[in-house]
């Protein structure tokens, strides 16, 4: 039994944002690259509007389980969902945070405030995570479909070079697992994500 080398990715979002498909595409790309991979998805009651999360574990092992303090990469499609997942972050984990919020019905109805973005970013940073915030929803809208938040975030992940999968392999997986009707916009959104990620890392490098 050897030390752990797996890459544990957690995708957290809201039903309808494309969390499950996103996880599937990462998984298929990894499989195509010949890597051991597992995808876990939590759904059921969490249809549209409910919390949805999916995990992708690339590396040897049997489960797709990402427990407390085990997550290497968090793709948060919604800020509150990022907060919900914060306990799972490994110190030094990378978080890509879509800053566009979707306020849960229960929160509004109970009159409780939605935590502010800086609060959420701080909470994530307090876990030792490196937070990269961006408005993926705006990029998705720019690509032509607000629904394409997930492809944007996938692009960000690919652009950040965090996956052991080449861009070409990933693109093939996108092509294989996206319905042809939305393929063009999905790929456009994905590329915008890659660009945003490149720009962001450029800026961060500059600042450093």
């Amino acid at each position: 039994m050897s030390a752990d080398t797996s890459l544990r990715i957690l995708l957290a979002g809201v039903g309808g944002q494309g969390v499950l498909t996103g996880a599937r595409v990462i998984g298929e790309a990894a499989l195509a690259a010949g890597l051991p991979v597992r995808i876990g998805q939590l759904h059921g009651m969490s249809q549209r509007g409910g919390s949805v999360e999916a995990t992708v574990v690339i590396g040897p092992g049997r489960t797709a389980f990402v427990g407390a303090g085990a997550c290497d990469c968090l793709l948060a499609l919604e800020p509150l969902e990022a907060l919900r997942a914060s306990a799972r972050l490994k110190p030094g984990a990378q978080v890509w945070l879509n800053t566009a919020t979707l306020v849960p019905a229960t929160l509004g109805a109970l009159g409780r405030p939605y935590p502010s973005l800086p609060q959420i970013e701080q909470a994530l940073a307090a876990r030792g995570a490196r937070v990269h915030s961006l408005d993926a929803s705006a990029l998705a809208a720019r690509a032509g479909a607000a629904r394409a938040v997930s492809p944007v975030m996938l692009g960000v992940l690919v652009g950040a070079g965090r996956l052991p999968v080449s861009e070409r392999q990933f693109e093939q997986a996108m092509r294989d697992f996206t319905p042809p009707r939305v393929l063009e916009t999905t790929l456009r959104a994905w590329r915008l994500g890659i660009d945003a990620s490149m720009q962001q890392s450029g800026k961060e490098a500059e600042r450093a």
Binding site: S2, G16, R62, A105
Partner: protein, 1125 residues
């Protein structure tokens, strides 16, 4: 998930040897196909649904006979029958379903199977989608059948394939028990050969197939032999395995074992893992053998400690080896999934040294999915009514998508038990309490087990309303067909309808309604409620989510859209400015919304109220009025100070264009808007801590110099500081305030009030330098060297005078007179001009010793630019007015004045007036005060030749305030625009935004300045008058005779009671700027905020209609859209 493109090969039919990512559920299906299964059936239920769904999809292509059975009992019997008839069969359901099928289940092993029969019963540890987490491994010893547990997708395939063989070897059904984690984990699976199965046919053998007592006793004895055969058939590594080396052992089953293996591997622990894929019968000999090499054994289990059950097959505690193992195992908590709990108790203590500590995840607000409006069948606009109902009556809900109606906002459930129990619970409660009850049930549940329940209620004629919600499909689990409806390729074919079924059962009062036909639905419900005995209501409407996903109407799709006329989003798109106050902030927001909606019922509402459109600062007057009416002054203050950095000054000196356009004036008198503002500001000043603090962007290092600390300069400095700039504020005068300090007398604006405003601005971290004159002490170029940009707001310092022949009184400029507070006058004074400075100068002259004061101006009385109230006060104090007049000559005694008439409406320059012959008179004057306006002093800017001038003002970009020098911006009287205090503040904010935009780009647009006056449209239409409509409140005024003796403030503040009544006079004639309920109450990803407007993205909308349900203004409605190929 069927994400593959159509036309591609179905991944479940991939050729042997390929490796694909399968869900655990898909692997089960593939395993069955590789075993040559001939019959598949089941009832959908999370987490098992993908099994039946996959079979439904593949049935035709594989030749496997498939059905969604009416319920699990029937499914189990069907699969058994298939097995008896010699076809390998599989039946799938969730854990609850198998206990529902308990009757046949307990007898099937007695009879035994022919062809292999596999029962898949998916477990749900942690109750993710179930009301309980029953441990079905107990069923193994209970009914005598093997129970096997796959740990992952590959094993799910192999175990399913092997299970058919196992079943045939021991002639028992085999229970395959994947858990949610296995069902819904996608992992690489290498597939084997697909095998067509055969059907052997049924052979008569009553001794074998009829468990009458005599036969049953014999069968019971045979069961033991069969279980022994099962034990022998599960000796392969597929069902048990030992991995790793160590003196410490861990024993775990199925999915729990997989988690253990990963955890131990992560830790690099030297542990021997005993992996069991079979929960019953336990391989006793193998276990004993394994235990020999161990000092300690940990048993890790999900749910309950089934492996330690004392009888019949399990070893005794001593045989389990070291005592520590038994005690350790006993202390594992008997609940929930391994992933969460495996690190509990002694196990955790044992691992703690190697496991880093984690704090438990914090509690977060749940993000529950609200119920579809149509699925609740109450119609969209009936929410309030439904809620009132829900409060008064007992609702018994059932299992299905409508269960979500138990949550907010409908709260339409008081109890929930099991499939079909909606009617039985309602009936039982009605029978003992004598009160009428309501039971809900969906179509699929009705056929599953609701029919007997309804029959039971019909038999007793129970006093209840039974509501059957028929949306064609089994929506909760993924739109499967139901007994009366066939679903194929997304098309629905109905065989019969529920009303006929219910009538056939014997119900006398049966009504059919479409919930979209709200008025009829309400009538039917009311009648049912009032009628004694049982009434059945069948509420029919197709599931809109399904209709949309399946494309029920090819090429067309129903989505929801927002009617912009009715939507009460902020109507301020032109500027993108929104107040930051959320809907949850208080009921007064709801009041604004409700009243805006009320007035909307009378016709289209202007997006922005007239007052706000007229306000240079675009303040949301109706918003803060509503706050004041509700007594929430802090919120009112926030709305005011969001756009107005100098509230203490403006609430006293504003020229109140808002009141000029107030639609309330059409009824009686305009709302006393400025007095309301003053009330709030004074309230805030009295609080121990000022309730508003500007939220500031973090410093980004850029710095700006603002020249001039008048209203425009202060506003620009404030705005830039808020935007994260380092700001240096310079002024020629010693103290900041500019015109506010030196041009407005203290009886109107007490110095303390101004000081409060200035202090609040400077407290943000603005560096003020007084006594520094531009052009004398420093130049623009010097400033540009040390700063990123410069804002010029030096005002108009050069007074104008008209040329009048003759010699006479001492001539003074009103502004310098006002500035020099020590200057006294003697004898009569004449003030020339019709603006506020003229009135101020006249009233100050009275206070500074003038025996009598006259104002001479060209304008007629009602055209004077000065504030009407101020003119009135001046007259009260004794100032005499000579309006429509001009000076013609100065004489030693005073001035000669001639009457004039305007040559055109809206006359503004002296040439627009003509003298009226003979209308001359003389006014005595020792002093002549000029107050006909002032222009910027070009001398101060002589040193900057880069600046351009136009019409005596600096030439600037009217949008951004940028001058001809790119890094220099101008605001206030220096720039063209409205020359009022409020107008200057607006220009200051605009220049700050323009500057920010030029330095930081689009980021600046997060905070927009008030919209450009050219883009405004002031539309007044009557709003809603309140029944208790009060008269306009007037603040207290000091008596005229008393106040001319000093410079004490003349006008007081409204009392709290007055203010609240006055605030209620607002008719809320504009759209409320801040509904946002759809965004804030319902987090649907289809909602897109564009500027201030909200839109539904049709590509994302599923047509579920929940939003229409939430929308407080009824602005969301269904539309049909064309869909491309």
């Amino acid at each position: 998930m069927n994400a593959q493109a159509p036309g591609r090969q179905d991944p479940l039919l991939a050729e042997a040897g390929r490796t694909l990512l399968y869900l655990g559920n898909e692997a089960v299906v593939r395993g069955a196909l590789e075993a040559g299964v001939r019959f598949a059936c089941g009832y959908p239920g999370t987490p098992s649904s993908e099994i039946t769904d996959s079979f439904a999809r593949l049935a035709q292509r594989t030749g496997v006979a498939f059905e969604y059975s009416v319920n699990e009992k029937i499914a189990l019997e069907m699969a058994f029958a298939a097995s008896l008839a010699g076809a390998r069969s599989i039946v799938a359901m969730k854990h609850l379903g198998l206990t529902y099928a308990g009757d046949p289940l307990t007898t099937i092993p007695y009879i035994g199977v022919n062809a292999g029969m596999v029962i898949v019963s998916a477990a749900d540890p942690s109750c993710r989608t179930s009301p309980n987490e029953q441990d079905q491994r107990y069923l193994g010893p209970f009914v005598h059948m093997p129970v096997i547990e796959p740990a992952g997708a590959q094993q799910a395939l192999e175990m399913t394939r092997a299970a058919f063989q196992l079943s045939e070897q021991c002639r028992l059904p085999v229970l395959l028990r994947p858990t949610t984690r296995v069902c819904h984990t996608r992992a690489p699976v290498t597939v084997g050969e697909l095998r067509p199965g055969a059907v052997a046919g049924f052979t008569r053998d009553p001794r074998r197939y009829i468990p009458m007592p005599a036969n049953a006793v014999r069968m019971r004895a045979e069961l033991e032999q069969r279980m022994a055969a099962a034990e022998a058939a599960t000796r392969s590594p597929l069902f048990r395995d030992a991995r790793g080396e160590g003196r410490v052992g861990v024993l775990a089953f199925g999915a729990a074992a997989a988690v253990c293996e990963d955890v131990l591997s992560e830790l690099g622990a030297r542990v021997r893992l005993l992996w069991l894929g079979v929960a019953h019968p336990l391989p006793q000999d193998w276990l004993l053998e394994q235990l020999r090499g161990l000092d300690e054994l940990w048993v890790i289990e999900e749910l309950s400690p089934s492996s330690r059950m004392p009888s019949p097959p399990c070893a005794t505690a001593t045989a389990w080896a070291p005592a520590s193992a038994a005690s350790a195992a006993a202390s594992c908590p008997p609940c929930s999934s391994t992933s969460r709990r495996c690190c509990c108790g002694p196990w955790r203590r044992w691992l703690r040294a190697r496991f880093p500590r984690r704090s438990p995840p914090g509690r977060r607000s749940r993000r529950a999915r609200p119920c579809c409006a149509p699925s609740v069948r109450t119609g969209r606009r009936s929410l309030p009514r439904a809620r009132r109902w829900a409060k008064r009556h007992c609702f018994f809900n059932d299992i299905g998508c409508y269960t979500l109606g138990c949550g907010q906002p409908l709260e339409s459930g008081d109890a929930l038990l099991s499939m079909g129990a909606g009617f039985t619970l309602a009936a039982g409660a009605a029978r003992v309490t004598g009160q009428k009850t309501v039971g809900f049930m969906g179509d699929s549940t009705f056929f599953h087990s609701g029919m007997p329940a309804l029959l039971n209620a019909i038999k007793e004629d129970v006093n209840m309303v039974a509501v059957i919600l028929d949306n064609d499909v089994t929506a909760m689990t993924g739109f499967q067909e139901s007994p009366l409806v066939e679903v194929s390729d997304g098309c629905i074919t109905r065989r019969a309808d529920i009303v006929e079924v219910v009538r056939a059962l014997g119900a006398r009062h049966v009504e059919r309604v479409d919930p979209e036909d709200l008025s009829r639905a309400i009538t039917v419900f009311r009648e049912a409620w009032q009628r004694p005995g049982l009434s059945v209501i069948v509420s029919e409407h197709p599931c809109p989510v399904f209709a949309q996903r399946a494309g029920a109407h090819p090429g067309k799709r129903t989505v929801f859209a927002i009617d912009t006329e009715r939507c009460k989003h902020c109507g301020r798109e032109s500027c993108g400015q929104r107040c930051s106050q959320g809907i949850a902030r208080g009921y007064e927001r709801a009041m604004v919304r409700a009243r805006a909606q009320e007035s909307g019922a009378q016709g289209p509402v202007p997006p922005v109220a007239a007052c706000a459109s007229a306000c240079p600062l675009f303040l949301c007057v109706q918003g803060y009025s509503a706050h004041i009416a509700a007594g929430r002054y802090a919120d009112a203050l926030e709305l005011i100070m969001d756009g107005l950095p100098l509230p203490d000054a403006v609430c006293r000196v504003c020229h109140r264009p808002c009141e000029d356009v107030c639609v309330r004036a059409q009824t009686d008198a305009p709302v006393a808007i400025n007095d309301l503002k003053r009330f709030v500001v004074e309230w805030a000043d009295r609080q121990p801590e000022f309730p508003h603090r500007a939220t500031r962007e973090p410093d980004h290092g850029r710095s700006v110099a603002v020249v001039g600390a008048g209203p425009a300069g202060l506003a620009a400095a404030h705005e830039l500081r808020v935007r994260g700039y380092r700001v240096r504020l310079l002024d020629a005068a010693a103290e900041p305030g500019g015109l506010l300090r030196y041009g407005i007398p203290a009886y109107r604006l007490p110095r303390e009030a101004l000081a409060r405003d200035v202090r609040r601005v400077l407290e943000l971290g603005i560096q003020f330098e007084g006594g520094r004159r531009l052009g004398r002490d420093f130049s623009i170029d010097e400033l540009l060297e040390g700063h990123d940009a410069v804002v010029l707001a030096i005002g108009a310092g050069k007074p104008l005078r008209a040329k009048v022949p003759g010699k006479g009184p001492v001539q003074l400029d009103a502004l310098s007179f006002l500035r020099d507070e020590g200057q006294r006058l003697q004898g009569p004074a004449v003030v020339v001009g019709g603006g506020n400075s003229a009135v101020d100068a006249a009233r100050s002259a009275l206070r500074r010793g003038a025996s009598q004061v006259s104002i001479v101006c060209l304008e007629a009385r009602d055209a004077m630019p000065a504030i009407a109230g101020e003119i009135h006060e001046a007259e009260l104090e004794g100032v005499s007015l000579r309006t429509s007049s001009r000076l013609v000559r100065l004489t030693p005694e005073g001035v000669d004045v001639v009457g004039v008439r305007a040559l055109k409406p809206g006359a503004s320059s002296p040439s627009d007036y003509a003298d009226v012959e003979g209308a001359t008179c003389q006014l005595p004057a020792a002093h002549l005060l000029w107050a006909i306006g002032q222009i910027p002093d070009p001398e101060a800017l002589d040193h900057a030749p880069g600046l351009r001038w136009q019409d005596a003002r600096l030439q600037v970009d009217t949008q951004t305030g940028q001058t001809a020098m790119p890094r220099v911006f101008a605001a206030g009287d220096l720039a063209p625009g409205e020359q009022t205090v409020t107008g200057a503040i607006a220009l200051g904010r605009r220049a700050a935004w323009g500057l920010d935009r030029s330095l930081r780009g689009d980021v600046a647009d997060k905070r927009m300045p008030p919209p450009h006056p050219a883009k405004r449209k002031v539309t007044g239409r009557p709003g809603v008058l309140r029944a208790d409509c009060a008269r306009r409140a007037a603040p207290p005024e000091r008596a005229a005779a008393e106040r001319t003796g000093d410079f004490g403030e003349t006008t007081g503040v409204l009392t709290e009671q007055q203010a609240r009544l006055e605030a209620q006079r607002c008719t809320i004639c504009g759209n409320c700027g801040n509904c946002n309920a759809c965004i804030e109450l319902f987090g649907c990803p289809a909602f897109v905020q564009e500027g201030a407007a909200v839109r539904i993205d049709p590509a994302v909308c599923t047509g579920c209609g929940v939003c229409a349900h939430f929308c407080p203004t009824g602005a969301i409605h269904a539309v049909s859209i064309e869909e491309g190929p």
